[in-house]
């Protein structure tokens, strides 16, 4: 089993498209990582309104109730809210467009993987429009960098520090902690070990969580300044994490050293490689493939392009058994791609269609946009998506959305079956495509077939 163009497009890219030829070799996948992303997404630090502007406008409007300023403040808040909604919708459409309109889509897939690995969720409405900006700023520039670089970017990003509450964790014996009686919040330290680096099976204890929480104190941010290290928050004294003692005299350097050490830890390598492999090929990924990736991760000090290349070089990557199941987001973007939509068309989707064809259906299919349950993100096992309610969402969307997107009748199912599935089309699906009573149902049946739902 070696390189296979259809598998490359379907399993490692964002799917087959009538607009783009499938990749010619594995090198083309990795090469795509070097090209600049299309469809602009504003970076977190460039977005207005900021979370603070949003909150301030809300507060001003609330406090002005009953006063002469009430109408003016309410109008000002409405303007801010609308600006936030515009950013939210535009960044959602651009994210879809990067999958739908990519030459191959390996970059878009990796962006999806890493954004999920380092899940940040809006804790309240004023943050809702900022999540894609976080991915654009902390994740996307590092998908073809070292894991350690991405880990540093994430661990020092305001969005993560807010989401996992690190920015309010204060060393109890720090200057600020003693004066204000404030203390630690273990949330980020725990997820950093459990989710971001070692994995829950990793060699750490509650004591490591505690010591790391003490070490991480001082990571904070301010609206105008962005991220910075505030030594007034930092717990004095040395902390020992996984047997390595970090001497607090060095300030933030200690924290960065600990982040780097965890990024390079062999258990982190194994955890990350297993997760990447599973994301692309499905549960119980070939152990020799994961082992080869882990070796390269360790020897290259987490150089991600080398890890991806090792995966793509392994025969198990090209097995034509489709063991992974597309997430709702992948299912929708690959279907839109198969329908021949361009990225520009996706970007130009209007507000009503964004709600009715993208945001709403994601909810029913079980993947509400940027709202996984917790910091562990979406299910790793694709089979978790396949349940009656999720299938109802997929089938209904597959039967009705294509006509809405295309603004005309959908393509002839007898042709579409080959566009969408290539040489993965089975006799059953080819027959069903020709036997449907109406085009919309034919398209819907093809998109609902396991040959399209799997990858």
């Amino acid at each position: 089993m070696r390189f296979d163009a259809t598998i490359a497009a379907v399993r490692f890219g964002t799917g087959l498209s009538p607009l783009f030829a499938p990749p010619i070799n594995a090198g083309a996948l990795v090469a795509e990582l070097a090209s600049a992303p299309q469809f602009e997404i504003a970076a977190y630090s460039q977005i207005t309104p900021t979370m603070q502007q949003y909150q301030a406008a809300a507060r001003a409007s609330r406090e002005a109730r009953g006063s002469d300023d009430e109408a003016a403040m309410a109008a000002a808040f409405r303007t801010v809210r609308q600006a936030g909604n515009v950013v939210y919708n535009e960044s959602l459409r651009a994210t879809f467009a990067r999958s739908v309109g990519a030459q191959i889509g390996f970059s878009a897939r990796l962006q999806d993987f890493w954004a999920d690995h380092f899940t940040v969720k809006a804790r309240n409405v004023p943050q809702r429009h900022l999540i894609t900006g976080y991915v654009e700023e902390a994740i996307r520039p590092h998908i073809a960098n070292s894991f350690g670089a991405m880990l540093r970017a994430v661990a020092t990003h305001p969005a993560m520090l807010v989401y996992l509450e690190q920015f309010q964790s204060v060393g109890p014996d720090s200057r600020f902690g003693k004066r204000r009686g404030r203390g630690l919040n273990e949330n980020f330290a725990r997820e950093f070990l459990e989710l971001h680096t070692l994995g829950v099976g990793g060699p750490y204890t509650q004591t490591d969580v505690r010591e790391l929480a003490e070490l991480l104190t001082g990571l904070t941010y301010q609206p105008q300044r962005g991220f910075f290290y505030d030594k007034r928050f930092a717990e004095p004294g040395a902390e020992t994490v996984l047997g390595v003692t970090y001497d607090a005299a060095d300030g933030i350097d200690n924290i960065l050293d600990a982040i780097d050490a965890l990024a390079r830890h062999p258990q982190t390598a194994a955890h990350i490689c297993e997760k990447i492999a599973q994301y692309f090929v499905g549960q119980n990924a070939d152990a020799t493939m994961v082992a080869a990736m882990t070796d390269v991760f360790i020897t290259s000090e987490g150089w991600l392009p080398a890890v991806y290349a090792t995966m793509l070089d392994h025969p198990a990557a090209w097995d034509r058994t489709l063991r992974q199941i597309k997430s709702p987001l992948r299912f929708m973007t690959s279907a839109m791609r198969a329908l021949g939509l361009s990225g520009a068309q996706v970007v130009n989707t209007n507000g009503r269609q964004t709600r009715e064809l993208l945001i709403g259906p994601l909810v029913v299919m079980g993947q509400p946009w940027q709202k996984p349950l917790g910091p562990d993100g979406w299910p790793d096992n694709g089979a978790d998506w396949v349940n009656p309610q999720g299938m109802a969402g997929r089938i209904s969307w597959a039967m009705t959305a294509p006509r809405e997107f295309l603004k005309t009748r959908p393509p002839d199912p007898r042709n579409f079956v080959l566009t969408a599935l290539g040489d993965l089309a089975t006799q059953d699906v080819i027959f069903a495509a020709s036997a449907a009573e109406v085009r919309d149902e034919g398209i819907g049946i093809i998109l609902s077939a396991p040959a399209f739902q799997r990858s």
Binding site: N187, T205, Q389, I445, S448, A449
Partner: protein, 400 residues
């Protein structure tokens, strides 16, 4: 979507489904047993010490300098968080209570995700926890279980009801209407893939059942909202829709329902966060009660969480992941108005790892006794197959 629009849409779907000659009428088989069991997973780790407050414990107030406000006194020793005040009439009627200082067998790593897996798997440890859930294993030993005897409700996958026994899964916003020809072709293309085939066939069947009962549900919903205890409940909120959907199913042939309420991970400013979460819990219980009508009398509702939270407040007016916590229960079939369990105390030496409430009972013992006394499952089966490794111990008398 608001409730009325939702119901209207479902009704419209019902007409097309009922008109189709190819649809097999859903069999309303005689119920295999009569009692109803609802299991609600409180995801994120509810702070049992703040929900049910041991105000009589001399150490308690010092551990909770900013959180302890406006307690509703229940027993003199225990009080209740003010956000639970709408449940006070149920407490007084003996239809709501709590079991305190409970935990699963999970210890020390305090991961939400492992903690929830172990809670839902009902097994002693994480080994093999991903395979099936205890509520499914319970179904496996019950007679006459059919496709819609048990319902997992909501968008997310629940381990609790996953496993070999049939259980339906649906969320109120889902809908599906297919022409007979489309149904046949779908069955053809999915036929060789049991995972997809089963899920799609169930989707079609559930959509039809929901559609068929929609008119009755709409009438019942009107009656329910006129219930005085429901006045403050927001009918559009997601958790209320889940509870409403569960009640509608449980009025019919469904006997088991499970769903989740999220938002319990109160590391920061717990006062606001927990108040909202407890309000959701209270609305959910009231919606079930109102929606079930007379069926409430034979219903047990158990609300379980993955672990408790630290005995002390943390540095950000919240609490971190802990061990011992509380289970909330309600329903006419249960013996409420009491806080069950042995109280371990809160002095530093009494705490687990000098940090968390010490669990004095395996939380699984309570659903186990409900299964025995309400559903008539024998103790040996429970201890061997449903909750392996559990010793049920003495009967806490949770069933009325």
């Amino acid at each position: 979507m608001d409730r009325r629009k939702f119901l209207a849409r479902i009704t419209a779907l019902g007409c097309s489904a009922a008109a189709s000659p190819l649809i097999t009428p859903v069999a309303f088989a005689s119920a295999p047993w009569d009692a109803r069991l609802v299991v609600i997973i409180l995801r994120g780790a509810m702070d049992g010490l703040d929900a049910f407050r041991p105000i009589g414990d001399p150490e308690y107030a010092a551990l909770r300098p900013t959180l302890l406000k406006d307690t509703i006194d229940l027993t003199g020793f225990f009080g209740m968080h003010p956000a639970l005040s709408p449940l006070r009439p149920l407490w007084d009627a003996g239809q709501m209570g709590a079991a305190h200082a409970v935990s699963t067998p999970y210890r020390d790593k305090r991961s939400h995700f492992d903690g929830q897996d172990i809670l839902e798997a009902g097994k002693p440890g994480i080994e093999g926890a991903g395979n099936d859930g205890w509520l499914n294993r319970m179904l496996q030993v019950m007679p006459n279980v059919e496709g819609q005897t048990a319902f997992a409700i909501g968008r997310e996958q629940q381990l609790l009801l996953s496993g070999a026994a049939p259980a339906a899964r649906w969320s109120p916003e889902a809908q599906l209407s297919l022409s007979p020809q489309a149904q046949l072709l779908l069955a053809l293309v999915q036929g060789s893939d049991p995972l997809f085939q089963t899920a799609s066939a169930e989707a079609i069947e559930i959509a039809q059942t929901v559609a068929m009962t929609a008119a009755q549900d709409a009438e019942d919903a009107d009656m329910m909202m006129s219930d005085p205890m429901m006045q403050a409940v927001n009918g559009k909120a997601e958790h209320v829709q889940l509870a409403d959907f569960a009640a509608a199913r449980l009025r019919g042939e469904t006997r088991i329902a499970s769903f989740s309420i999220n938002g319990w991970d109160t590391h920061l400013n717990q006062q606001g966060g927990l108040q909202r979460a407890l309000r959701r819990l209270s609305d959910t219980i009231l919606t079930l009660r109102a929606g079930l009508g007379p069926v409430w009398q034979k219903t047990a509702v158990l609300c379980l969480t993955e672990f408790g939270r630290t005995a002390r407040e943390n540095g950000t007016k919240g609490t971190d992941h802990g061990t011992g916590g509380a289970m909330v229960f309600a329903g006419g079939a249960l013996n409420g108005g009491r806080v069950l369990g042995d109280w371990p105390g809160l002095s530093e030496a009494d705490l687990y790892n000098r940090r968390d409430l010490m669990p004095t009972r395996d939380v699984r013992a309570y659903p186990a006794w409900v299964m025995r006394d309400l559903l008539g499952i024998d103790r040996r089966t429970i201890e061997l197959s449903i909750f392996p490794g559990l010793e049920m111990g003495t009967n806490p008398g949770i069933v009325a």
